[in-house]
Amino acid sequence: MDYQDGNALAGPLSEIFTLDVTVAQGTCAGCGLRGPLAGLHVYGAAPGLVARCPGCEEVVLTLVRGPKDVWLDMRGAVSLRIPVTE
């Protein structure tokens, strides 16, 4: 099945995060692979997106935009390392 890069998450995530989270380094709960969210494989289209690990294809996060809330499920990410500047 065809997919997009995690770059496609930048717009939808900008609605809830002040920083661009697609550059954050995530660690996959499935296989431990580390990489930027921009490198995830994203399936589906807004308002429902599923992002999978490029290494093991486990679901890292899902993002659903409803009329009244944004539902972000990150059960497949052990951690997010977010670059910041002073």
């Binding site: 717009g11 900008s14 002040t18």
Partner: protein
């Protein structure tokens, strides 16, 4: 309650037909904060009955105050692209959100050589990088894979010799007689002939349809390029 929708209203100013099925749309966006080459915007269209849909498009121009250019390829059964390429007229307005994306970007102050590998309309964000390069000393090499000469975007601009930017056209189906390369898909030999050797540690940007990006990234890592230096942007199934 968070209120960060930040959709902006953009007014179409003019258009340029790139190919029979693709055109560049020039928008006036009051308060546009500027952007980095490689970033994209989400475009939202809302029908009179309230039905709304959105798509991501790469920004084509170098950062400019209040001005934004997108080049859109018509996707046959697409919901949004035919509207942008065939229906929208100067004076019409759309909503957009952005610029977004901090990963697939080239920062003009970075110094390593740059290798751009684009397939089809994947040329768009790469062209933004070329246009943003300006008088920078960073040497660029662009490999532009396209089906046939009729699919060429930005023909006039690419034709002009740009100091420090080398362009190679890789035709996949029909090559013009003077192409110097038989028509065919991107191969390792192309990356060797027209790209940078891995020892020069170039910043690599690959953009195009998913299959093209996968193939190009595999060839590049196979040649010894550091996967961490290869940034990709794929067009997914929702490009329409």
């Amino acid at each position: 309650m968070i209120k960060r929708l930040n959709w902006r209203v953009a007014t179409l100013v003019s258009t340029r037909q790139e190919t029979p099925t693709a055109r560049t749309l020039v928008f006036d966006v009051p308060g546009w904060p500027g952007h980095l080459p490689g970033q994209h915007v989400d475009v939202r269209l809302t029908a009179p009955d309230g039905y709304s849909t959105q798509r991501s498009y790469s920004i084509a121009n170098a950062s400019s105050e209040d001005r934004l250019e997108l080049t859109v390829q018509t996707v046959g059964d697409g919901e949004v692209s035919p509207y942008l390429t065939e229906v929208l007229e100067p004076g019409d307005q759309i909503e957009l959100r952005g610029p977004v994306g901090g990963w697939f970007v080239w920062r003009p102050h970075s110094s390593p050589p740059v290798l751009l590998v684009g397939g089809g309309s994947g040329i768009v964000p790469l062209m933004a990088m070329v246009r943003s390069r300006g008088k920078s000393d960073t040497p660029f090499r662009l490999l532009y894979s396209l089906r046939d000469p009729g699919q060429l975007f930005y023909a006039d601009e690419l034709e002009k010799v740009m100091a420090g930017v080398e362009v190679a056209y890789l035709y996949t189906r029909i090559a013009p007689p003077d192409a110097g390369r038989a028509a065919g898909r991107l191969q390792a030999a192309d990356l060797i002939a027209y790209g940078w050797p891995p020892e020069t540690a170039p910043d690599v940007y690959v953009c195009g349809p998913t299959g093209f990006v996968e193939a190009a990234a595999d060839l590049l890592t196979g040649l010894g390029h550091d996967p961490a230096k290869i940034r990709t942007e794929r067009f997914g199934p929702t490009g329409g």
